[in-house]
């Protein structure tokens, strides 16, 4: 049994010890962030069923509200849907014609078909951003084959990339996170740029060619690089201020529900070894100090830059 004095000393030492432990955790977070995030991912994995239970009432209420809103405005909604259906039927015909033409052209060009990427579909378990980051956790079930760097898309466009992988859950860093840098191509000007997230709804465009500024409203697509394939829709260019082009994402980053994670592989774009490359012979140290071996040639004028004066 401890004495009263010892107990008093112990009681006074508890808080400083705990503060030291907290400082240790801060330092661990700065040095080994992935290990801390791994623990957080495990906790989320464990809590995933509870999260589904927690948001279930909210989802039901949303469905009821949508039904209610639809029921109150049936005639107008019907008319709108009929118009939309007509427009979609037109676009369907255009798409079928274009697909047939595309197939013919590819056949005549002996186009090598691209590999179909593997994908898994997951529901957003939780918004995992915090004040300074934009990320979501996806419940992709057990037995998935998702790898770090895989590409996440919603129904409309690019969403982000996978940064951590757990047994049931994966973490996707969204394109508007401050740490996100995605190489993109601009649709009409064909310039390359980097799309940099800045924690706002619209990521910025940086490092674009100074003689080809992005054009307001032009399409932005991904540029093929390692696991990121070319041509994925990202969004459209918008100038939020003069000389400040941003991308308005196609994906609805605020209301995410179902997300697909694609594995495009990372070893397809490796350049082959250059065949026939020969080693360059080393030149002698001072090849031009002696007299030229071609004595039969007439005197050549001094070459510019040879210091003949």
């Amino acid at each position: 049994m401890l004495s009263i004095h010892a107990r008093q000393v112990l009681a006074k030492a508890v808080l400083p010890i705990l503060i030291l432990l907290a400082v240790g955790l801060v330092l661990l977070g700065l040095v080994r962030r992935p290990s801390v995030d791994g623990v957080r991912l495990m906790a989320t994995d464990f809590m995933a069923p509870a999260y589904h239970g927690l948001v279930w009432p909210q989802e039901r209420v949303k469905v009821w509200l949508t039904d209610l809103r639809g029921a109150t405005d049936l005639a107008k909604e019907n008319a709108r849907l009929r118009d939309e259906n007509r427009a979609l039927r037109h676009w369907y015909d255009v798409a079928v014609a274009l697909a047939a033409e595309n197939g013919r052209l590819k056949k005549s060009l002996h186009w090598i078909p691209e590999t179909v990427p593997q994908y898994v579909t997951g529901r957003v378990t939780r918004d995992d951003g915090g004040p300074y980051s934009r990320a979501v956790l996806l419940d992709v079930g057990s037995g998935h084959d998702v790898r770090i760097g895989d590409v996440a898309l919603d129904a409309a466009g690019l969403l982000g990339r996978v940064t951590e992988v757990g047994p049931h859950t994966v973490r996707v860093l969204m394109i508007n996170d401050d740490a996100s840098r995605i190489p993109v191509t601009l649709g009409s000007s064909h310039g390359d740029a980097i799309m940099a997230g800045d924690d706002t709804a619209s990521p910025r465009l940086i490092f674009y060619p100074q003689d080809h500024h992005p054009v307001e409203g032009e399409r932005v697509e991904t540029r093929g690089q390692s696991t990121m394939p070319a041509g994925l829709p990202v969004g459209t260019v918008h100038y939020s201020a003069p000389n400040r082009p941003v991308v308005v994402p196609d994906a609805d980053l605020d209301r995410l529900d179902i997300v697909r994670v694609f594995d495009y592989g990372d070893d397809d774009s490796q350049a082959p070894d250059a065949p026939g490359r020969v080693r360059v012979k080393k030149l002698p140290q001072n090849p031009l100090t002696g007299p030229l071996p071609f004595s039969w040639l007439p005197n050549l004028p001094d070459m510019p830059g040879r210091g003949g004066q």
Binding site: G29, P131, D178
Partner: protein, 188 residues
């Protein structure tokens, strides 16, 4: 008078008999503030899509620790603050350790000044809390900047500080009521 002896009429010579059920009831009432932090941290990590959920996690934890550390330290010992901080850390994705360290520092301040704070009025206590909430948010922002090696916008930190300061009065009203009723171990 120290605020934790807020129910002097119950400190009579005739105490209720100490049974297992009563001990359990007392422990549950004493653990109420810690359980409040833990449950709100878990609840606010669910994908409800409420704006400022993550900031609210931090704000609720800060307000709870501050209030109970000065008004009834027996219900909020340092070890409980540490464990609650760890739970908040696990269920948030901010820079690791910052919430935990902020909670411990604010606990230390409130616990050290508890006699003075009990004598101060609500507004003065709120102002002092506001300073520390702003400092904690600034500290978090500085660490994120250090980690990203870039000067990030301080707007999310300011929003977090404003939200923390803003929810303090309503949470205090809840806690004052709880201190008298459901979180009062003397009423077990």
């Amino acid at each position: 008078m120290v605020a934790e002896n807020s129910t002097p009429h119950l400190h009579s010579a005739v105490e209720p008999k100490q049974t297992f059920r009563r001990a359990l009831d007392m422990a549950a009432r004493a653990a109420m503030p810690s359980l409040f932090i833990v449950f709100s941290a878990i609840l606010l990590s669910a994908p409800f899509g409420i704006p400022g959920q993550a900031q609210l996690q931090f704000g609720i934890a800060m307000c709870t620790v501050w209030f109970w550390a000065y008004s009834r330290p027996r219900s909020m010992p340092a070890l409980a603050v540490f464990l609650c901080g760890l739970v908040v850390e696990i269920f948030s994705f901010g820079p690791p350790g910052t919430v935990l360290l902020s909670l411990l520092v604010i606990y230390g301040v409130a616990h050290h000044w508890r006699y003075g704070l009990s004598r101060l009025g609500f507004i003065a206590g709120w102002l002092i809390f506001s300073v520390f909430a702003a400092l904690a948010s600034f500290f978090q922002w500085a660490l994120v900047c250090l980690h990203a090696v870039a000067l990030l916008s301080p707007a999310p930190g300011l929003f977090q500080a404003a939200l923390t300061i803003g929810i303090y009065p309503s949470l205090t009203a809840l806690f004052v009521w709880g201190r008298r009723t459901f979180a009062n171990p003397d009423q077990a």
